[in-house]
């Protein structure tokens, strides 16, 4: 009974977190882009308290709300699609797997309630990382379905581009992560995070990024490409293909695609911080408190530790989201041949090289000096 309650609370927390991220990130993106470009950013939407003239602007936070309302109230324009069923389910096929990926990501340390410990993860699956890749693979099907079923040549072109792009970068992503799997000897995410909680050489936190810096860069690149955002937004390049595979979608169906995109930013950030930035680990922090490099120990009680770990994870995710938005508003779009060339001729050889070096290093270290 207690297990069920804790799991339900976890599920509610994760759902609320993701949906909040999806909405708030639209605001963060607008504001950050504006500040990067010496502008102010959207600040006109307001909520008026009823029966008063008090208008709440809150730095334009309500623009996300206004967007959602607009999406809901717009006419749901439907073309005469080639395949009605595929057209209808395509946004959901894109949206649902993105949400499901978060089920295996640990978003906090271990919670102890009534003598039982619960790792903060919705689904404790041994194949955690494989599940992540399985679900993010389904997203491709959603975009392909959308493009094929719209009976529109722009959508079709967008779907073709999405298919080849996502498959190329999925390969790179898988290969970069293989090095990590070798290093940690497991694909279970909780275990991966726990192995990153120590220190490296006594000072550095033992995060994946210090063991596998190349893999971190490659993974982030491939993940941003997976998300189909600028500079990798060829499937929906609006100056070439109107809106690519979602050209024929309107109202909330289109909103779902956008929402999935924004949630995927958060998912990528969560995945990256789990694999490379030690997840919920703060440097020099254990489940009992802080252990500073000099040997000083600051003990803390369990609730404070859990709260700090959850906040740490959130902070890392937010910073990484912000970094992805920085990338999106800095780099111009690739040309199509450059995009595939970048994946197959640059990232893939580097990923394989990284893997080979990692395997050799692990082999040497594990078997000891010859």
């Amino acid at each position: 009974m207690q297990d069920l309650a804790v799991t339900l609370i976890y599920v509610a927390y994760a759902l609320g977190l993701l949906l909040t991220f999806g909405t708030v990130l639209t605001w963060v993106e607008r504001k950050q882009a504006a500040i990067m470009a010496d502008r102010i950013g959207a600040n006109r939407a307001y909520v008026r308290i009823p029966f008063t003239q008090v208008k709440l602007v809150w730095l334009g936070l309500f623009h996300g709300l206004a967007d959602g309302l607009k999406m809901l109230l717009k006419e749901d324009f439907k073309p005469v699609p080639y395949d009605r069923l595929a057209y209808a389910i395509a946004p959901w096929v894109t949206f649902v797997p993105v949400m499901l990926v978060f089920a295996v990501i640990p978003f906090g340390g271990t919670l102890v309630v009534g003598g039982r410990s619960y790792p903060m993860q919705i689904a404790p699956i041994d194949a955690g990382l494989l599940v992540v890749f399985a679900f993010s693979g389904i997203t491709i099907i959603g975009t392909m379905l959308a493009g094929w079923s719209s009976s529109n040549k722009f959508s079709m072109l967008g779907a073709l581009r999405a298919g080849s792009q996502l498959i190329s970068y999925e390969l790179v992503m898988g290969l970069t992560v293989l090095g990590l799997i070798f290093l940690y000897g497991t694909v279970e995410l909780v275990s991966i995070v726990e192995q990153q909680s120590g220190t490296l050489l006594g000072v550095l936190p033992a995060w994946g990024i210090f063991y596998q810096p190349f893999a971190a860069v490659l993974f982030l690149t491939a993940a941003v490409a997976e998300n189909k955002r600028i500079p990798f937004d060829l499937p929906e390049a609006e100056s070439e293909l109107i809106a690519g595979y979602m050209t024929e979608y309107s109202a909330m169906k289109m909103g779902l695609f956008m929402f999935a995109e924004f949630i995927e930013i958060a998912i990528i950030a969560a995945l990256f911080s789990t694999l490379f930035l030690g997840g919920y680990n703060l440097p020099w922090m254990t489940d009992a408190g802080f252990v500073l490099p000099g040997g000083r120990v600051i003990a803390m009680n369990h609730v404070a530790v859990v709260a700090i770990q959850m906040l740490t994870f959130l902070g890392k995710v937010l910073l990484l989201c912000s970094f992805q938005i920085l990338i999106r508003w800095t780099l111009p779009r690739f040309r199509w041949d450059q995009l595939l060339g970048f994946a197959w001729r640059f990232l893939l050889p580097l990923a394989i090289l990284n893997l080979v070096v990692t395997v050799a290093a692990v082999w040497v270290l594990r078997s000891g000096p010859p």
């Binding site: 950050q32 504006a34 500040i35 990067m36 470009a37 010496d38 502008r39 102010i40 600040n43 920085l326 990338i327 508003w329 800095t330 780099l331 970048f342």
Partner: protein, 192 residues
């Protein structure tokens, strides 16, 4: 058709060429991110310390700072020392106005024998005004002038873009007038 030469892209002597460093792309990406991130942090620091991180003016609420002193923004009615308008309701401005936006209703004031005619209603429709300044030129009494501030133009209803006599007189005579306001001598009884 067969004589047509195939298209060859012209090469320019100053065509930009990328070195191997730029061609590698990765480091140029880092440089670009460094620049934009720097701009972001610079502006963000300004915002967080309570200053404005952009040059933009919040338009209807905030006046832009760089209006020229002689900018023809909106009209004012000059006043006699007792605060009544200097206008004698001669209708010259309304006649010369190319957009025909000025409407004046004249009235009789028996208490002021020097200026028995005064405007009971003086309204300008800013939805049609072209801000040419001809009304200022035409006025024989120096009763209408233009100041650099703009009227509160943005609105949802064109019928609310009129300014009446009260608004035109409400301009704080000591501030921001294009020409210095003539101070009437008290000896003349305030009636020059």
């Amino acid at each position: 058709m067969s004589s047509r030469k195939p298209y060859v892209r012209r090469r320019y002597w100053n065509e930009p060429a990328m070195g191997w460093w730029e061609r590698l792309y990765l480091f140029e990406v880092v440089r670009g991110l460094w620049i934009t991130g720097g701009v972001f942090l610079h502006n963000m620091w300004k915002w967080m310390t309570g200053r404005k991180g952009a040059l933009t003016a919040y338009y209807p609420e905030e006046l832009r700072a760089d209006y020229a002193a002689r900018n023809r923004g909106k009209h004012i009615l000059t006043q006699r020392p007792d605060g009544r308008p200097q206008c004698v309701a001669c209708n010259m401005c309304a006649t010369v106005c190319p957009a025909q936006v000025i409407e004046i209703d004249a009235a009789f004031d028996p208490d002021d024998p020097a200026h028995p005619k005064y405007p009971a209603r003086f309204e300008i429709d800013y939805s049609r005004c072209v801000f040419c300044g001809l009304c200022v030129e035409a006025c024989p009494e120096d009763a209408i002038r233009m100041v650099k501030e703009t009227p509160g133009l943005p609105g949802f209803d064109r019928n609310r873009m009129w300014l009446g006599k009260e608004e035109l007189l409400d301009w704080q005579p000591q501030r921001d007038v294009a020409k210095p306001y003539p101070v009437a001598s008290e000896a003349a009884g305030g009636r020059p």
